[in-house]
Every structure is written in C-alpha cells, then in structure tokens.
C-alpha cells in the first residue's frame, strides 16, 4: 500500500505491533546510538556564515557533499542555513564542489 515496505508477510496493516518478535529475526535492536542533536542549536550559533570555513568543514566530508541531516542530526532550519552557506562558500572556492 502506498509503496510502503511491509515485511513479515501475512495480513496487511499491522504496523508497529512487532514488539514480541524483535529478538527472533536478525533485527539488531539493542544497539545504542547516541541521540543526535543539532550542533547549531546546542552551541547557540545563530549565524551560519559562509566565511567561516572551519565551522563548515565538518559538514562536507571527503566527497565534499553536504552531510545529510539524518547523519549530522542538524535541525531543519539550521540545515537550510548551512546549505546556503556551503553553496556560497563553494562559489568563492573556499570549499570544493567535489573531490576527484
């Protein structure tokens, strides 16, 4: 339905009722992952500036792509600001578009 992946077979609809079978199949549930928080919210950085390359660098890993939100944990507002800052920095050759 709606292209949603449904494992487990059987009847449809049963989503989120799988609390009893989490240890059976290979679902690695008991893995702790630190809760990700927005770096800019915690550090109270209001101004994401394209001139501050040192601040932007951790968000452009090796391939020089913008680090996605699901990895960095940045909130939507700051990710948006970060993106414009990175794009401006790229214009001025402060940050690479890509690395070969």
């Amino acid at each position: 339905m709606n292209g949603r992946k449904s494992f487990g077979g059987g009847g449809g609809g049963g989503r989120g009722k799988s609390s009893d079978q989490k240890t059976k199949d290979g679902q690695r549930r008991p893995m702790f992952r630190r809760r990700k928080v927005c770096k800019f919210c915690t550090d109270k950085i209001d101004d994401i500036n394209y001139k501050d390359v040192r601040m932007l660098m951790p968000f452009v890993p090796e391939r020089a792509k913008v680090l996605p939100r699901r990895i960095s944990g940045t909130c939507a507002m700051h990710q948006r600001k970060l993106r414009t800052a990175i794009m401006r920095a790229r214009q001025l050759a402060l940050i690479p578009f890509t690395t070969e």
Partner: protein, 150 residues
C-alpha cells in the same frame, strides 16, 4: 533606501599589492559616485583555492561591507565581471539576515534571564557556574557514519 551588502572578490595571484589596492579604490569610487559608504574592508591575503579556477590555484581574497542601494551593487557587479584580474566575486545582502540573528539572540538571552529569575537566581550567568564553561571548545565534529548510510 539603504541596504547592507557584503562583497567578496578573489583577485588573481599574479596581481601585485598595488593592483589589489587599485581595485579597492575603484570599488570605493563607484560606491562614492552612486551614493553609499564602505563600512569595512578586510584583506584575507592569499589563500589556496578549493578548486582550480581557470589555471589559478591561489587567490587573494578581499571582503568589503558596503552600505548603499541596489544600484551601487549592480554597478560593482558589472565592473567586477569585466575585470580580468578578478577571478571570482560574490555579493550577498546581509542587513535582513543580521536583523534576524540579532532578534534571535536577544530573545534567547531574554528567555534565559526570565527562567533564571523564576528559579531565584541572578539574571546573568555567574563566573564558574555550570558544568561546562562556554569558552572551552571541545569540538565534537565526528558523526557516526555507516549504518545509516545506505
């Protein structure tokens, strides 16, 4: 109508200091002619470019903060485009952004002050208070990669 703009231009590494200074006076002349003022000029000096532009690998960066109307920037933009010595330039309007940042900062300090007062504390942070000082900066720049990357 006065707006604030930020102009950064990258000058070719072959340019002498005199040529860089000359470029600055040219910009200044345009600003004065059309009406505006230069608030700040900063020379970042020679830096390595992140990628090659033409055949250049380095460039001299100059930043100017200009107050004036859009016409000033239009003219500067046009002039920098035809100047061969300038290999890249960027104009960004900053007054609105600055206002937003200031408002956010003001609101944050106001909220924190109110909360502190409600807890019966003095409104401002005392020195030596809290677990972690604001100044010490252990940048945790490493994100957990893998796993989530599919």
């Amino acid at each position: 109508m006065s707006r604030k703009y930020e102009l950064v231009y990258v000058v070719s590494p072959e340019a002498t200091d005199a040529q860089v200074a000359d470029l600055h006076t040219q910009v200044e002349a345009i600003v004065q002619r059309i009406g505006g003022r230069i608030e700040k000029t900063e020379n970042w000096g020679r830096r390595k470019l992140a990628y090659e532009i033409g055949r250049h690998k380095e460039g001299t960066y100059v930043l100017e903060v200009i107050e004036g109307s859009g016409d000033v920037m239009k003219e500067i933009d046009r002039r920098l485009k035809v100047t061969d010595l300038v290999i890249r330039h960027l104009v960004v309007r900053i007054d609105e952004e600055q206002g937003v940042v200031e408002r956010m900062r003001a609101r944050r300090t106001e909220v924190s002050r109110r909360r502190r007062v409600a807890r019966g504390l003095p409104p401002d942070r005392q020195p030596g208070e809290g677990q972690r000082g604001e100044s010490d900066d252990d940048r945790d720049d490493h994100f957990d990669m893998g796993e989530d990357l599919r």
